[in-house]
């Protein structure tokens, strides 16, 4: 697995198009999220010139994982779309805190796996570690995310230090919550698991 990071200016047009297409396959086609898309490409108002991307490719140069990093000093998903998940707590606006979103690690070249089983973890854990290291290089000390509740369980099993910021809420029939993940160095992952963050 090869991982590249950077803003759109740092990455090629082909990589950025691959990210948008991959996100459409994962979040719209597989998970059924109701997201505005054009031409099977998924992107939104948080995909900006200053957005940092982490992209994993397999040996065939196919996208097998993506993550989107946003500084909380500018508009971000939790603050703008899901502030209710903080239960009245002020959303962070700090160079120390970055948001992790559109995290997915599905290798579509793997045969015989279900959509959920394909959130497999050598990719997911490697991608998350790369995202944490990338954010740390930008000054982050912790991530915040909007996540399905099960992700908290999987982060712990995979060896990441994470905690909820407030109680979970039911959104579209599923429990989701605001999560905080420390950017400190982590040890080797302990298990293969699924991860998908909003």
């Amino acid at each position: 697995m090869n991982i590249v990071t950077g803003t759109p200016a740092d990455l090629s047009v082909e990589i950025m198009a691959g990210v948008a297409h991959y996100r459409h396959r994962v979040f719209v086609e597989k998970l059924g999220w109701q997201l505005r898309c054009e031409n099977a490409l998924e992107y939104d108002q948080f995909d900006r010139d200053d957005t940092v991307y982490v992209v994993a490719h397999n040996a065939e140069h196919e996208v097998v994982g993506t993550a989107r990093l946003l500084p909380t000093t500018r508009p971000y998903l939790l603050d703008e779309v899901f502030p209710q998940l903080l239960h009245g707590m002020a959303p962070p606006h700090s160079p120390d805190v970055w948001e992790l979103s559109r995290f997915a690690a599905v290798d579509f070249s793997e045969r015989g796996s279900s959509a959920l089983a394909q959130f497999s973890s050598p990719i997911a854990v490697g991608l998350l570690q790369a995202s944490l290291e990338c954010a740390a290089r930008h000054g982050a000390k912790r991530f915040i995310t909007v996540s399905p509740l099960g992700v908290e369980r999987l982060l712990r099993i995979a060896g990441f230090r994470a905690h909820r910021l407030a109680p979970p809420m039911i959104v579209d029939g599923n429990p989701v919550f605001a999560c905080s993940i420390g950017c400190e160095t982590h040890g080797a992952p302990t298990a293969a698991r699924e991860l998908a963050l909003c």
Binding site: G88, P92, L149, R156, H163, L165, P167, P168, P175
Partner: protein, 127 residues
């Protein structure tokens, strides 16, 4: 009890013990399956349960559970340590270790009446 910039609520064990917690939501894992857990036991169902305080800032504690099938009946068992937005502090005001914090929370949630609620949750799931 206070909410810290890192999003954790810091309080002492005594403060937590004096804070009523109520059931928020519970669920059954989508892929419940039978897995031998130990000699003479079987696991047939698993899931999660979430509890909150009714005061601000809102305390949130959740944990996983498993239904063990035994020869003499069934038993609801907490699996692993709780997940929470709490950090228990010592008398000095210093934080507990993260693992120690969760260990104490585990003993506290074991005293809650979650085993009385889960049969209703499971019954609703399979009704």
């Amino acid at each position: 009890m206070h909410l810290s910039p890192d999003g954790l609520i810091r309080l002492t064990v005594d403060q937590l013990l004096s804070t009523p917690l109520e059931h928020l939501v519970s669920g059954v894992d989508p892929e419940a399956h039978v897995v031998p857990a130990a000699c003479g036991t079987q696991t047939s169902l698993s899931g999660y349960t979430e509890w909150i305080s009714t005061r601000d800032p809102t305390i949130s504690i959740g944990w996983d559970w498993r239904l063990q099938t035994l020869a003499c009946g069934v038993r609801w068992v907490r699996v692993g340590l709780p997940r929470s937005n709490l950090m228990l502090t010592q008398d000095t005001g210093a934080d507990s270790s993260w693992h120690g914090n969760l260990e104490i929370l585990g003993t506290i949630v074991d005293a809650l009446a979650w085993r009385e609620i889960l049969p209703q949750v499971v019954a609703a799931r399979y009704a």
